[in-house]
């Protein structure tokens, strides 16, 4: 479904943030990218929907190279990719349902987007999605009044409203308490199974990735150091991913 091949990225021209990153994510699979801070996890995620322009390589989403698209093609391709952020990135003064409805604006006209013209069916779908993530009663609450866990679930509903083939999650539970984290991770896991959406998650927690992911990709110093089933991630393997000297070696080598 998603194929990342030989991805390279350097922010300042000589020190590489990503060196030759390749991995694949299958349809309906939950894949977790783990690794120490500054390893390049966010860079990988943002290269996939081209929020960051990478330098070299290929990002194939259903055989379509995201890097070769022009502006309007890229816009269309992005509509198939939902994204969930650590800071939820909702429009706080708006209500939950308005935020969810933003998800369907991608395939509507500019005028409909400017005047917030949604069809009855779209509004009903948005409400159903909110009910699905357990926030049916909060549909008309301003998002600034919601708790962190609730905001993240609104974010998930918004991503689902796009009918995505792939959902990218950038540290989705880093600012949440354990209970909300479990809820969010379970929702994501369920989606992959029920809707056959591929989910690619940046995570810090080894335990949680073992628990919820099918496939784990370990990153250190901008390189893939582990790429296997979740069961194959032993404690030694995990320790290997988080090894500090790898980062240092990389800096010295480049």
């Amino acid at each position: 479904m998603l194929e990342v091949k030989h991805l390279m990225k350097s922010y300042d021209g000589h020190k590489r943030s990503l060196t030759d990153v390749s991995f694949t994510v299958a349809t309906g699979e939950v894949a977790a990218i783990i690794g120490p801070s500054g390893a390049g996890k966010t860079t990988i995620l943002r290269s996939i929907n081209q929020l960051i322009k990478d330098d070299e390589g290929q990002v194939l989403l259903n055989e379509l190279d995201m890097r070769q698209l022009n502006r309007s093609q890229l816009r269309q391709a992005r509509q198939n990719i939902g994204m969930i952020f650590q800071n939820y990135n909702l429009i706080e003064p708006l209500t939950a349902i308005e935020n969810v409805l933003h998800g369907c604006l991608g395939n509507k006209s500019t005028l409909a987007g400017i005047f917030s013209l949604y069809r009855q069916s779209e509004k009903e779908e948005a409400l159903q999605l909110l009910q699905k993530v357990g926030l049916g009663n909060f549909a008309y609450q301003q998002c600034r009044h919601l708790s962190g866990g609730q905001k993240q679930r609104v974010g998930i509903a918004r991503a689902l409203m796009q009918h995505p083939k792939l959902i990218l999650c950038d540290e989705p539970i880093a600012s949440l308490d354990p209970k909300s984290s479990t809820l969010v991770m379970e929702t994501l896991r369920q989606l992959a199974i029920e809707e056959h959406i591929s989910v690619l998650i940046n995570l810090h927690q080894v335990d949680i990735s073992r628990q919820y992911a099918d496939h784990i990709i370990g990153i250190n110093g901008g390189q893939v150091v582990f790429d296997d089933h979740a069961e194959a991630l032993t404690d030694t393997a995990a320790a290997q991913i988080y090894r500090k000297d790898l980062v240092l070696n990389e800096e010295a080598a480049v």
Binding site: N49, L51, L74, R75, Q76, A77, R78, Q79, I81, G82, M83, F85, N87, N89, L90, I91, E92, P93, L94, H102, G103, L105, G106, T110, L111, G113, I114, F115, S116, Q142, R144, Q162
Partner: protein, 286 residues
């Protein structure tokens, strides 16, 4: 970057001798410059003030007359040359002038602010617009009205265009600044969902921008009202400013000046109350 003049040497507790006084602020060149400037200014003021007094002016009688006039203005307001209805009409004229120029100015400024917003357009476009606006702002509001009154002739046209001109320059600057202060995440998120600029502006930028938009526009309305009064006298644009000019410089009627000043004062207080409630309402929604 402020650099301390000298490196502080902090003595070890074992060191003997006079007790070390630790400064709370480090001496730096900038502070010294400020103090020196203030000193020079104070000296200049002290030297020039006594020499400014013309010989034929008696400070004591002048002060007394001044107080007398103030007393006439504020304690014996009254009308003789104009009626109260005329004055209210004139006040409304000034308010409408301020309202119109703020309205036109805020619409144009909002568009210009979007066009110079770095997250939507290349940086050089914004820089060009902002530099041009800074140029307009550098010349005072009333002067613009005078310039335009040369072009269009004295009257309301020159006042409207001149005040709008400066409002646009001022509001473009503050709108852009408040847009840049907003979290960039919201716009990036919308971009990641594949939205075009139009919907992004409407759905992600506008809802977050409304509170600062309202408060800045309201401040500009206050400024424009004050300028509308001044311009009424200076450019013959009519309104309460013109009445004030006639009463004070033509009829020398301080009773009437008093009424006019009170009218303006009442309106300013009403404006303040309105802006307080507006802000509370917008913030209350947050």
């Amino acid at each position: 970057m402020i650099k301390p003049e000298k490196q502080l040497t902090i003595p070890t507790p074992t060191a003997k001798g006079p007790q070390f006084k630790m400064p709370v602020k480090l001496k730096d060149r900038r502070r010294v410059t400020i103090y020196l400037t203030l000193l020079v200014l104070a000296y200049l003021t002290m030297v020039t003030l006594p020499t400014m007094l013309p010989d034929h002016l008696n400070l004591k009688t002048a002060s007394l007359t001044f107080l007398q006039n103030i007393q006439i203005m504020f304690f014996h307001p009254g009308l003789s040359n104009t009626t109260f209805v005329q004055l209210i009409q004139a006040l409304l004229e000034s308010i409408l002038l301020a309202f119109l120029t703020t309205l036109i100015g805020s619409v144009i400024a909002f568009v210009l602010a979007l066009v110079s917003f770095r997250q939507l357009v290349p940086a050089w476009v914004g820089l060009a617009i902002q530099s041009f606006m800074a140029l307009i702002r550098a010349i005072p509001n009333v002067l613009w009205v005078l310039i335009y009154s040369v072009v269009f002739g004295l009257g309301a046209n020159a006042a409207v265009i001149g005040l709008t001109f400066h409002s646009v320059a001022y509001l473009t600057k503050v709108y852009t600044d408040s847009m840049e202060e907003l979290e960039p995440d919201a716009i990036e998120t919308m971009r990641a969902m594949g939205l075009k600029n139009g919907p992004i502006i409407r759905q992600a930028l506008v809802p977050n921008f409304i509170p600062s938009y309202l408060s800045w526009t309201f401040i500009r309305f206050e400024i424009n009202f004050a300028d509308a009064v001044a311009v009424g006298a200076a450019a013959g644009a009519g309104g309460i400013g013109y009445q004030l000019f006639m009463a004070s410089s033509f009829y020398f009627n301080f009773h009437e000046v008093g009424v006019i000043v009170y009218l303006i004062l009442v309106f300013a207080i009403l404006l303040e109350i309105a802006s307080y409630h507006l802000r509370k309402r917008v913030m209350g929604n947050q």
